[in-house]
Symmetry: D2
Subunit: 295 residues, 4 copies
């Protein structure tokens, strides 16, 4: 029998994930704050509802993909939320990138209603989501992590589990974004050095991408930064700062100094001061070149 | 007919490279300041000479692999050096990691004697050198870069050329080491955050090494740092600081601020202050954990 | 006629300020969450009340000196708070070090009830408060800044006004604490350098304190850090981190990169990771010496 | 009887010092690489010579005030230098800001010829030198520090001694310049924050200069930076970078991480990349405002 899933949040990432779930044979009840975005999914067979609560009707599993901690709390915490509606035995697969402290707090809240909160942040940009090539990283205390494998299989290419702590998966996710931003900063510094020495950044990016750093992050961002392709945004710079702040907040809560994160924070803030908040987050590297007197 | 090559510097890197050249059928005249290191090569057929000058006897191509700028200048610049001996039409393949400014100065000096200076720094640790899996990065003004391809093919798995400027290849090499050290610092920060959140760094390293960062640097150093295997040293921490300083000196000469390099410098200096200069350079990350109150 | 003032918050700073107001002839109604602290003031003539609201009975001016933004909001924002009780024509002199955003929000809230919110953060440690040698820095839109001069004169040695924006005075206050922490970090780096070169930090501190840096911050903290007197705490290290975070939050809200503040943040976090949260905030400099391999 | 002194180096600092020595009744033999600068001193009674060696004729004490380590070594180290000419019992008062390692090396060299090397770097800008208001900081192994007091009294307002190590005084001098640059960076960050919050930097500078930071560095540079008066240069930005580098080199030689110095280095490098090398070194703060999107 076809399983019915609820899905909340149809942005750049949520939309293609929901589409993949439909394509994999799931029946979907979808909700988005801006209803227009849901329309194309209706054409693919999704049932569009007009409130977050209603996605839980007839569903035991709800997925959510929202912009930040606040947005997720706003759909989970109010009285009568979809969490309460799910009730005992329900599962909430939380795909958003949020702070581990929020994840832990939400998990406690879900437990009160017998719902399992599975942290399942995803790795990849919208193209990867569309291509079903996301990586998923899970954590949470429930037994449900087994039962949701078919669902996760429909949205990504692999799952890594990080144990019982509902905050763990988000620590890993935040760490990944921090590592990506770090790599971009370091590449940006290298490219400024290259340019000042008459070397084409693209050539440097190509070599590194074929040898020591033959991996998606260095290949993709290396090329993009070397060629200064910062628009359209795959991941908005302002959202990038949100994630760097998540890293710094988690670091402070854990009493971990992270000096590179401090540099990233300033780099991103400067980009925002210069009006680049809607560019791709790799546009933060423009500031590196500017500091070196380059255009 | 078998070509005779001179080879100066038989350290951790030079020795296996020389051995590979012999294995590839070249006749080698080798010199090392500490003669004992040369003995095993003699057994493989190398002719061991007792001064750097003598490697040039009967050779038109000399390779050198030395510890730093000073060591290289000491064999190239004195009156009667192997460079003068090589004379018109001679080629010096300079494999060492040195500053681009030194490379440019040396190239000028070689030109006076009709010798082509080819900058050819290599990427990889001693195991890679032994396995003929180094990457080579060349630059220099001469026509010789074509003729030496068989020689470079005998020591590595591929060559990337960066044009006429004899300093360019070293800018790229210095950049690579900077990127590696940056990646280690960022991984170290992530692992401290993981540990404080109850997550095993090895699990994090494994996931990143299989997904976003599926490349040698993150896989190798990720595992090594997560498992705290800092001895024996593949690349001594004190030499790592030398390379970070090369990056900073080159950055200053080029008027490029490199804040991440500044952090690395302090991290490495602190490791030296704590007596870790002979550990692997990845041991610099111990300080990150200590700053977070971890052992 | 004797003026009656309300006073909320009798900690290390609030207590001596309240005592000075009594000594200056004001009648005081005082409230502190932990009532025991209020007892000695009662002996000096203060009327101790059992809720924050009650300080406003018969008073048109209330002063508050609380630990952080949250504590201040908790007494101002609830229905029936002292702000509402003060009503039209009332004045709230807010002495706490809080974020300018909070100050602006509170000022709006006060306006609804006809109360003027005067930001009046103070500069100085408990000894200075006791000696009536605080500096006060005011801002706010009302006409009341004139009328409260006698009150401010009773607690400090001088007032600087920064205009209409209720957030301005706190920007200045946060900046001052940032400058003090920066000076401590820089002094700590200098002293580590001195020690490693066989020079007594006290001698260095003395010279600077008598010449280029002949001012309270460098003289006081210079001596204290040089002599490693970190206990008892004049200002707790954990509170210092709170203020550094206020600087960073305000900086981000204003899109201003502050790299030195980033360094301070990590330095303070590391001190907390090492269990120094209850020492004086100058104890953050211990980490500088440790990073240099010193005890 | 009038004492004859040699004086080498008549730049912005050396000139007024030499003039003050003449005014104090010393007979001066002066040398400057660019002879024109010496002419006005001749009018005041100095005897202008045409080589550094000749300043030692008939003198037992020579003072020098040169731009950097190299310039000082160039006059001290060659065969037949003024040091050799001074010979046994001679005294060299070295006023320049140089690295302590250089000072130690020079002291050894002087010892060979029986000359005492007294490190005596001075604190203050050209106006202070002219007004005889420099601070002098001495170190060195000889007994001569007593005998030269009248000479030092003629150029400054006070002397602080730091013991036998000829490097010590320069460690202190370098530290002072580092502290000044740090203060400028921190003030620059504060002023950017102020401007973004609608507060006039001059008002902030004034308050701090009258209260917590009532000392020459904060008063002078606070006003200058707030008012953006960066020309003409009192101390050239490029020379400032030289001094920051001296701090970093000394820090590395002593194995002391100095993260704030790292930030300063990048700030100054960026200023040079933007063409500000001939402005006053406080112009480095322009970059702080630019990073915040300010003009």
């Amino acid at each position: 029998m076809t399983q019915t899933l609820g899905f909340i949040g149809l942005g750049n990432m949520g939309f293609p994930m929901a589409a993949n779930l439909i394509a994999a044979g799931f029946r979907l009840r979808v909700y988005n704050r801006t209803p227009a975005k849901a329309a194309p999914l209706a054409a693919q067979g999704a049932f569009v509802v007009s409130s977050a609560q209603q996605v839980a009707d007839g569903a035991t599993v709800v997925l959510s993909m929202l912009a930040d901690d606040r947005a997720l709390e706003d759909v989970c915490m109010p009285q009568g939320s979809f969490v309460e509606k799910l009730g005992i035995g329900g599962i909430h697969i939380s795909l958003s990138t949020i702070g581990p402290a929020t994840a832990r707090r939400l998990a406690e809240h879900h437990k009160k209603f017998g719902v399992e909160y599975v942290a399942a942040p995803v790795f990849g940009r919208p193209e990867a989501a569309a291509a079903k090539r996301l990586w998923v990283c899970t954590s949470g205390s429930g037994a449900s992590k087994q039962t949701i494998q078919p669902i996760l299989a429909a949205i990504g290419q692999g799952v890594f589990d990080f144990g019982e702590d509902p905050g763990a998966a988000n620590v890993v996710k935040i760490s990944a974004n921090f590592l990506i931003a770090s790599a971009m900063e370091s590449l940006g510094e290298v490219f400024a050095l290259s340019r000042k020495n008459g070397i084409e950044p693209s050539a440097v990016a190509e070599m590194f991408g074929k040898t020591l750093f033959a991996c998606p992050v260095y290949q993709g961002y290396g090329k993009q930064i070397a060629e200064k392709r910062f628009e359209p945004a795959g991941f908005r710079l302002a959202l990038g700062l949100k994630d760097i702040n998540l890293a710094l907040q988690t670091a402070q809560a854990s009493a971990v100094p992270m000096p590179v994160a401090g540099i990233l924070r300033d780099r991103w803030i400067s980009a925002i001061a210069k009006g680049r908040e809607n560019m791709d987050w790799s546009a933060a590297t423009i500031g590196i070149a500017e500091d070196a007197g380059l255009k």
